[in-house]
């Protein structure tokens, strides 16, 4: 069903924007790691809907953090004003699964893809679990400002230009924090996720299936399972990320 939602709040946050939309219960059912498809205007330019991962869901609203204005569709969204109506489809796909006994959650992401991790962070905090967030970005300006996170979240950063943690910091931080965690969730580019896979394998000698989940780094152009542009190699065949994912066990992703 295509559903309308109304933009009720628009705040600058870091390099990006925090958008709150009032939405119907069907959309509010979007779990961390699931996504919605946004139509970017009535004019077929940009043509495709854009996959949006909410960072939080309230009792009547969803929150999005958009930072990648380089994309034409997201740039269109950034130009919407309070009161504008958005056309959304969803929730789609399969999100993260956390077991009750998983109390110490490590989130590892690249800033541009952090949205689904922030949604999971909220769920973990709401059940009194602990959260550490390791975020990587090209520069300090592209990072999420520390003030945007709940104080109970331990937040570490690494930047390519060294402006907020050295480029190597991520690897050593991962080495330090991974043994503490009993669950890990990751989102980033294929190279980034490969780095996380290597680090986990080195830190946890036992097979880590069930410990780490990741958002597959693939486009989601149709969201329906038709276009096949989201195929993910799991080593046991290719699967459509919009159907079986986009969240997969990190151990099964062939990147």
């Amino acid at each position: 069903m295509t559903l309308t939602a109304v933009l009720t709040e628009r705040t600058e946050l870091g390099q990006g924007l925090l958008l709150r939309v009032q939405a119907r219960p069907e959309l509010l059912a979007c779990r961390p790691g699931q996504f919605l498809l946004l139509r970017c205007g009535p004019d077929w330019t940009p043509y495709l809907r854009r996959a949006l991962f909410p960072v939080d869901a309230g009792h009547d609203s969803l929150v999005f953090w958009i930072d990648s204005l380089a994309d034409e569709g997201i740039a269109w969204l950034s130009r919407r004003r309070v009161g504008d109506v958005l056309d959304l489809i969803g929730p789609l796909g399969k999100g993260f699964a956390l077991q009750a006994q998983q109390r110490r959650l490590l989130l590892v992401g690249q800033a541009a893809q952090v949205a689904p991790l922030l949604a999971l962070m909220q769920v973990q905090l709401s059940r009194q679990g602990s959260v550490v967030l390791l975020l990587q970005a090209p520069t300090a300006a592209a990072l999420l400002p520390p003030g945007a996170l709940p104080p109970s979240v331990e937040y570490y950063t690494a930047t390519d230009d060294g402006s907020a943690g050295s480029a190597d910091a991520l690897d050593s931080l991962l080495g330090e924090v991974t043994p503490w965690a009993d669950a890990l969730a990751a989102a980033g580019s294929p190279a980034f996720l490969r780095q996380v896979q290597r680090r986990i394998a080195a830190t946890r000698p036992e097979p880590y299936r069930g410990f780490a989940q990741a958002v597959a780094p693939v486009p989601l152009p149709c969201g329906s399972g038709a276009c096949l542009a989201c195929l993910v190699d799991t080593g046991r065949g290719h699967h459509r990320a919009c159907q079986r994912g986009p969240v997969f066990d990190l151990a099964e992703l062939v990147l």
Partner: protein, 287 residues
Amino acid sequence: MSAAQRRESGAASLVNLAPRHKVGLTLANPVLLAAGVVGYGDAVLPGLALGRLGGFVTAPVTRRPWREALPQVAETTGGLLWQRGLWNPGVRVVVRDYGPLWRRSRAPVIVHLAGDDPDELAAVAATLEQTPGVAGLELDLLTPYQDEAGGLEEAAEQALAVRSAADLPILARVPLSTSDEAVQALVERELIDALVLAQPPQGLRYRPADGLAATGHLHGRALAPLLAARIAELAGWVGLPLVACGGIHSLEDALACLAVGAAAVQIDTALWVDPLLPERIVEALEG
């Protein structure tokens, strides 16, 4: 019969896409979904009421599994390039996995056959004929700017192979560039029941910023007037139902194609953006 005439005649929106075929291919309305845009009928966005439509054409099916280059989608201005290839698990698995869905489908299922080899096409067609729920077959004949004589012989062999293997209506999808002579030759051989215009053309998108090029079949709104023009040219003399496929992104686009002589329309990638579009067209046609 135009959409308006159809409404006035009270014939609702019923359409037979294979009037020369002994069983025919009768659709409740002339709104179809193009090959692959709902996969095998399993890839449906929430809100799309497949059962309300005239039918749908599946993603391609080959005899053996086809898994080569990974499919890609690249956005263009007002459209996209879809490099899907023939990616599919082969007819045996397709029938096993989706046959039950086709059997239950309220909308007629037209399976898109793929491949060049007549024997392979015949084998797939024979399997599909035994599969309950399959109402018709669609196959691509000719390629753009194909040598007319050689290309036509090859196309005729492919159509003959399918016709001999399966007693199901055959829709032939040809390129927009297919000449009048080639269309006439195909029609005269009486190997096909309807003509689908057109196979999506091949496109290339180049991004100067990073020097990356993407290729694929072009889908987008700009194709609708091209399609309507070709349908209008052919409608007067081709004695087969014409199906307009490509570029239809609005009720107006669909009505234009029906008004100039299309018996039915196929909605393609517009569906992914506006999944309620086909149903809106059906409702408008039903008055």
